[in-house]
Amino acid sequence: MYVYDDFDQRIINERVAQFQDQMNRYLDGKIPEEEFLPLRLQNGIYVQRYAPMLRIAVPYGMLNSQQLRKMAEIARDYDRGYAHFSTRQNLQYNWPKLEECPEILGKLAEVQMHAVQTSGNCIRNTTTDEYAGVIAEELVDPRPYCEIIRQWSTFHPEFAFLPRKFKIAVNSVEGADRAATRMHDVGIQIIRNDAGELGYRVYAGGGLGRTPILSSVVREFLPEEDLLTYLDAIIRVYNQFGRRDNKYKARIKILVKALGVERFSELVEAEWEHLKDGDGKLPSEELERIKSHFTEPDYLALEADPSTYTDALASDKAFARWVERNVRAHKKPGYAVATFALKQKGTAPGDVTDSQIFAFADLADKYSFGEARSTHQQNLVLADVEQAKLYALWQEAKALGLATPTLGLLTDMICCPGGDFCALANAKSLPIAEALQNEFDDLDYLHDLGDIDLNISGCMNACGHHHIGNIGILGVDKKGEEFYQVSLGGASGEDAAVGKILGPSFARNRMAEIIRTILDVYVDQRIDGESFIETFRRIGMDAFKAAVYPAKDSQAKA
């Protein structure tokens, strides 16, 4: 992974000093609350219901064991012994003291980490496929491009006060999109043109939130070296012409929609004409320099599927089940990619304790070249595990409570912190997750249901990505009471789609029963091997509506 040089380190150190100074001036009363707000937000600090929340950047989800240990230390020393992985592959602390945040940033800087632009109306953490670099089907490793974007976006002088937040995702796999690229303000799909040259298909104007929209193609092919000048052009157009009068209409998706993608593209292209041959064009030496940080680790020449591994699969059903769901093929024979679900019953999705993080760091060292990844589904990955050692790894992970064999299943849900922590939320989301985990705890049933994305958000801001869940749950406030709206048919992969609302919302205590009813319709109607989303696409909304809202109370609004 990328290793800072003196320049990178100096920038982060200077950032710590800058934020310490800002905090001092705030605590001295020299910066009023409303002016401190964007300063602290650009450093990932929200003031929540009980305490500030500090969001640490995990650039494109990459972590080494030293960084994991530092995160665990901070959870232990400054929080209440746990931390929370978010849907932007970042890590959040829910209980730090405001005045201690600069000190925490100082500790993070020691391991080349920061909280830069993890919130606020600026360019946020760039995300990508959690399997980047280790799967055979990707075109090239997307992480060097993410790092190039990270450096360019860090304290960009022109784009620190955009109309609204700005999120970029990069995908390098044709036919699969684990980064939800088209739900981003800008999506970069790495491709080759007919001449075999590397470049990008550039999308803009996607996003979740109040008005979920899939992005549109702005440019079919952009050469590799033009990445940053083109991003400059897009964001310069947005910075000048994006709406600033209404924060719900301020994302770039609203501008693209208002202008039409053709007109928007014309403006971008006209801007880019001025920029494309300037110094912002990436020299091949810089591309090579960044790529050289993402070379392969020292893989051994191994045979695929060694007998120690296949024997364990044959003799231990529970291990086989975990492998079936949570382990996927690696590009190198004899290696595997293992995902560890942070979705234990009784804990909030994405939550980990300090001791789990410490232990996971040890697992990374022991089994995966000292590196790990966080995912936008709020799980952790060890990407380079020898198949022969998977059984031992699984046993250790099981002891830590990190080996739930439920990846991609109903209970591998995405969930925001919701009204329990977040001041923006309309409703709590964690109790819904917990109720569903309790209702659906039969592993055989879950495996029989197969792949289902169930996503929960506590409000319109959609941190829980409810729009793109096959089943989406959105917390709404009705005259001071918390209700939950269900949507069906959302999807986040290559066939991304925004879910449609099923009907009137429900009280919290009915949610487990409602989800059960929806699943019953699927189980009843599915044709061999169909996943939930495939059945939904075939039979449509009506069958689900009829089951959930029987005729006699179809008029009754919750």
């Binding site: 950032r15 800058q18 800002q22 304290f155 310069r236 910075n239 810089e286």
Partner: protein, 167 residues
Amino acid sequence: MTQIILDKQIANDEWILVADDAPLSSNKEVINFSRWAAAEGADKDALVTKRDAGTLGIQLNAGDTADLLANESQGFALINVEFPKFADGRGYSAARLLRERFGYTGQLRAVGDVLFDQLFFMMRCGFNAMAMRADQDLDLAVKGFETFSAPYQADVNDTRPLFRRRS
């Protein structure tokens, strides 16, 4: 006399912003862009004469993009770019375009809700003058230009991104 930051120093402000319907004198005066754009015939001639004498400045207000002024900018001794609220970042793009695209070399001044923590960004986008909000501490402000010693991006003062400065 009001004080501003000019070329990283505290300086006296020699300019006055005049209302759209106020008559102009031979002093250093700034008019809103809308007045300049609307002027015709003899009125415009008078403004051009005053501009060429170096005593007319122009102010881009919220929503006035730099391309409205474009190469016409070159004749002015002063261009103000208004920040209606500190969180409104349009002025950063306006400044870069004036400097980098339209060749403006005169005084480029940020006015309005201009606060200490924006100064470093403003300097990088080409502002060499800042009329800070009245409650800001100017003695502190002159230290606001040293925050980062080697930023990643190109800017108006150095067109090379860090990747062209690294070695």
